[in-house]
């Protein structure tokens, strides 16, 4: 019963293309998706996720479940980095610990859409407002990470690197990918409420094209992840373990929170995936700007080289069975 959904997950085009990308690196094929093409797909996916999410939120309205779920999502993205920070401090300095912890507190939009695709293929319903949770979980983790640096960093940090609250907010809210996701959400919402014909005209671009673009992007992600993986060796086994166990741990907390919120199985999976996934877009960008002391190879190689592939290939079906096990009689 465990293996079947994993295999089914692996046999979906997005995951297959991800594996193709990874295998191409393994076999030293010279397959390459040159910059800035990956950026095109990354921007497109954020725009489309946001736009569709905004429409869904407008459509579904603010039901009873929306507010508690979104609040819980924000809470998780505040708590997870704190836990992660405490764990990481055993081995790393404040800078690296805060940066890595923030990445795991934040989310990965592509992992989220992979989970959505998984749910669709399993014909399990989920709600559009979960994209709101996605959008809301990006920034708080960055804020926590930067606050940790601000208050826990050694006092002799040079003056030029002192962080001000304004720059912390700037980095967490106006970071390119956070901004694009949030603002596309707003555009989707506004379009749905005032200009419904616009939705239809956007549908071929943001809707129909989405799955294929996701596949293409995952092909590149496979290449990138497989190139990143070997560099993890230098990071040591502690970090490698962290990159696998932390998502599982976060998923575990997440599933109990989801149970507490009495989410349906679809929403529950998405909630768990948001907790378990780690950011490789917004957080690294913010950290590289504001915490240059942290090694980018640490926080990006773990999230991109290990956590992301793990979630995409194995994690999602595992989390699904976790949801099915722990949340009883999940209502539709």
């Amino acid at each position: 019963m465990e293996i079947n959904p994993i295999l089914q997950n692996v046999l979906a085009p997005p995951v297959l293309f991800f594996l193709i990308g990874a295998i191409s690196v393994l076999f030293k094929s010279d397959l390459e998706i040159p910059a800035p093409l990956p950026k095109l797909f990354s921007l497109y996916l954020l725009l489309a996720i946001g736009f569709k999410g905004g429409i869904e939120i407008q459509k579904s309205g603010f039901t009873d479940q929306v507010l508690p779920t979104l609040s819980a999502a924000i809470l998780m993205s505040l708590v997870i980095p704190l836990i992660g920070f405490l764990i990481l401090r055993f081995k790393f300095d404040v800078f690296n610990s805060a940066a890595i912890a923030a990445a795991y507190g934040s989310i990965s939009a592509v992992t989220f859409i992979s989970a959505e695709s998984f749910l669709e293929s399993q014909k399990i319903a989920f709600d559009g407002f979960m994209v709101g949770a996605l959008a809301l979980m990006e920034s708080p983790a960055i804020i926590v990470g930067l606050l940790l640096v601000k208050f826990a960093a050694p006092k002799n940090r040079p003056k030029s690197r002192k962080m001000h609250l304004s720059s912390i907010l700037h980095e967490s809210l106006l970071n390119g990918s956070v901004y694009l996701l949030l603002s596309s959400l707003i555009v989707g919402f506004l379009t749905a409420s005032s200009n419904p014909s616009g939705i239809e005209k956007m549908e071929p671009f943001t809707g129909q094209l989405f799955y294929g673009a996701e596949c293409f992007f995952l092909l590149d992600m496979g290449i990138v992840a497989a190139q990143r993986l070997p560099r993890l060796k230098n990071a040591g086994s502690f970090l490698i373990g962290f990159a696998i166990l932390m998502p599982l741990f976060n998923a575990f907390i997440g599933v109990f929170v989801a149970r507490f919120l009495s989410l349906g199985p679809g929403n529950a999976l998405l909630f768990v995936v948001l907790c378990a996934s780690a950011s490789y877009l917004a957080v690294p960008a913010a950290m590289r700007m504001t915490v240059p002391e942290a090694k980018s190879s640490y926080y990006i190689s773990t999230t991109l080289g290990l956590t992301f592939p793990f979630n995409i290939v194995l994690g999602i079906p595992i989390y699904m069975s976790l949801v099915n096990t722990i949340i009883p009689f999940s209502p539709l």
Binding site: A35, P36, P38, K39, S42, S177, A285, R288, S296, S297
Partner: protein
């Protein structure tokens, strides 16, 4: 000749303040330094690749901006070297 990264804006401000006659920027450079490896995938993840900036100017201008540029580079990493060059 300078090698820099996401601090491009800061560097350019420094250059402008020193009144350099001009500069040229080439983005999308990757590389490895004593502290960091910069790869192509850092371009679509928000990290940003390196930028290669070239400035042709008088020696005195270099002296004027040396400290500021060093500050910028020590913060985020990067290297700056000077070669002699005569106008064609």
């Amino acid at each position: 000749m300078i090698f820099s990264e996401r601090e491009l804006d800061a560097i350019i401000k420094t250059l402008e303040k020193a009144n350099v006659p001009g500069y040229t920027v080439m983005k999308h450079a990757t590389g490895r330094g004593p502290e960091r490896v910069v790869t192509e995938d850092m371009e679509f993840t928000g990290l940003g690749a390196n930028a290669h900036v070239i400035v042709f100017c008088e020696q005195e201008l270099i002296d004027k901006m040396r400290d500021n540029i060093r500050d910028d580079l020590s913060y985020y990493g990067g290297v700056a070297y000077i070669s002699e060059a005569t106008p064609l």
